[in-house]
Symmetry: C2
Subunit: 315 residues, 2 copies
């Protein structure tokens, strides 16, 4: 399992021997993409969650990218208001269920919400395909990335594609919707018709629970620091809730990054999903031919082709 290290050694060897270079890995393809293929993420679309330092005093920062329009904007508007009101400061991570989710918010369920939050209807779990993306605008050709393996395009959860703003989505003939891949951030809710305000959030820390698609709002994805949530002790009560207050991880603050001092704003960029680099990256994810692999899968599920995202190096 230490194959990348060995792969580097083999690469050096084969170059010396004058043999063809090995097929690059997906990560190597992304790393080699030209700067023009990377798109900066606006600080106004980043949510920065600082947990209390760990037992050794190390800081724990989680960075979440919020989804672009037209997805889930009602909830995301609420989330922006909650962050502006510093509502989450002093709340906590209250639930960690293995192979499912880590969830945070007000454990008392009594903290008053700020003024001005909207109630979002269930119809906004999806976006109308024809309404939002008229075919004459070239939606099918340009917005969705044509993957090489046609089997990739359809899975048990609907026909899937890649949205051109860099987000995985599911779709059928009527609707488009965000999907619950690892690291997806969603809005906790009570029974239908409740859709949640956005004050109670969770992230996926296990195999993609795609049965939640179209049943709960997805509002973003963790792009840095998910290990501070995924490696927390699992709760021992039903659904992974912690039994005691002492087990909860305190949240120091949650802010929209653009509200932080400029020097403290995290900066990230993602690989354009309409770039040639992404095309080759996705094909390589579905057909691993880099040196460790002997049998390419011939396909991949949408959650096994994570969009490459990286911090922007300081200049």
């Amino acid at each position: 399992m230490r194959h990348p290290l060995l792969a580097v050694a083999l690469l050096a060897l084969s170059v010396h021997a004058g043999e063809p270079a090995p097929v690059p890995s997906p990560g190597e393809i992304a790393a080699a993409a030209p700067a023009s293929d990377w798109i900066a993420i606006a600080p106004s679309d980043l949510l920065v969650m600082d947990l209390a330092p760990d037992a050794k005093g190390h800081p724990r920062r989680v960075v979440i990218q919020l989804m672009p329009p037209p997805f889930s904007q009602g909830w995301i508007g609420n989330i922006r208001k909650l962050a502006a009101a510093h509502w989450w400061d002093g709340t906590s991570v209250n639930r960690v269920q293995d192979n499912y989710v880590a969830q945070w918010g007000d454990a008392t369920e009594k903290k008053a919400l700020p003024e001005g939050l909207v109630t979002v209807p269930e119809s906004e779990y999806t976006v109308g395909f024809e309404v939002s993306y008229p075919r004459e605008a070239g939606f099918a050709e340009e917005v969705f990335f044509p993957l090489v393996d046609p089997r990739y395009k359809e899975d048990a959860y609907g026909v899937s594609g890649f949205f051109n703003f860099g987000w995985p989505v599911g779709l059928n003939n009527e609707f488009v919707w965000p999907v619950h891949c690892y690291g997806a951030v969603g809005v906790g809710r009570n029974m239908s018709p409740d859709t949640g305000s956005g004050a109670e959030l969770y992230t996926v820390i296990g195999h993609a629970p795609r049965h939640l698609d179209r049943n709960i709002a997805v509002v973003g994805r963790v792009i840095s620091g998910i290990e501070h949530l995924s490696s927390l002790p699992r709760g021992t009560e039903a659904l992974g809730f912690y039994k005691t207050e002492a087990e909860r991880t305190p949240i120091v603050s949650i802010r929209i990054a653009s509200e932080l001092p400029a020097a403290e704003q995290p900066k990230f960029e993602y690989l354009s999903t309409t770039s040639d680099s992404f095309a080759r990256y996705a094909d390589a994810r579905a057909n691993r031919r880099d040196p460790f692999f002997i049998t390419p899968a011939g396909g991949a599920d949408i959650c096994n082709i994570p969009v490459p995202i990286r911090p922007v190096a300081a200049k």
Copy 2:
């Protein structure tokens, strides 16, 4: 996200009101299955890994079920010999990579292996379909469970089905193979043609890395205690290896359960994948209609239909 609790409340309410009972959840279907649908797992097929107690002194036991024939038996034979030789005692968990694997074995890579281990060829990553399961024996009809949703049967990784011993497998017209779902246990290896001895093992702690199918041996699955591996701190070196020895989690012992004193042998059972109960469970996983859900997915990937496994209650 506290839906099951609310669902129970609603159930009580609707019974009182004389309304039809809500559709049961997959877990409720499994729990209601008759005892005759549950199959005991032989202690000789269980690997018991005891990690050093955690910082609070709590024991950490991980139980792994080994695959039945005809899958991966060369490696499993080696694993039995390694356990019998107490080879893993004093080794450690050396690598934890977020959304991928936790891996254990000899961090020094210098510990001598016991006598008698075999070298398994790559051809044993798969099992020949026609050779092992002649069609005249009713393989297609009986061994694989016919799921209700036909879309489920094929995914981007091959045509998938459920093996009648209770294991998820992938298959095409030629081969059958075990798949890398959450909790699957595989054999670390170096570059091909190395296939690993079985001394270096890992388990999946994130989204199913199905690109590893047919490229690495799968020998079992964690059926209890995976949280002791999945919640470990992530390693900060390349591939999630720990930087220092102090970060590693010591392994006290790994034993085949049948070698433990009878009173200490863990006992588990799984829901027969050819039972009617499993049919309804799998259909419910693919089409959630229990009260929290408003839109059934209409399908599921094979790793989102985990085979129900539970401890056998002491009598």
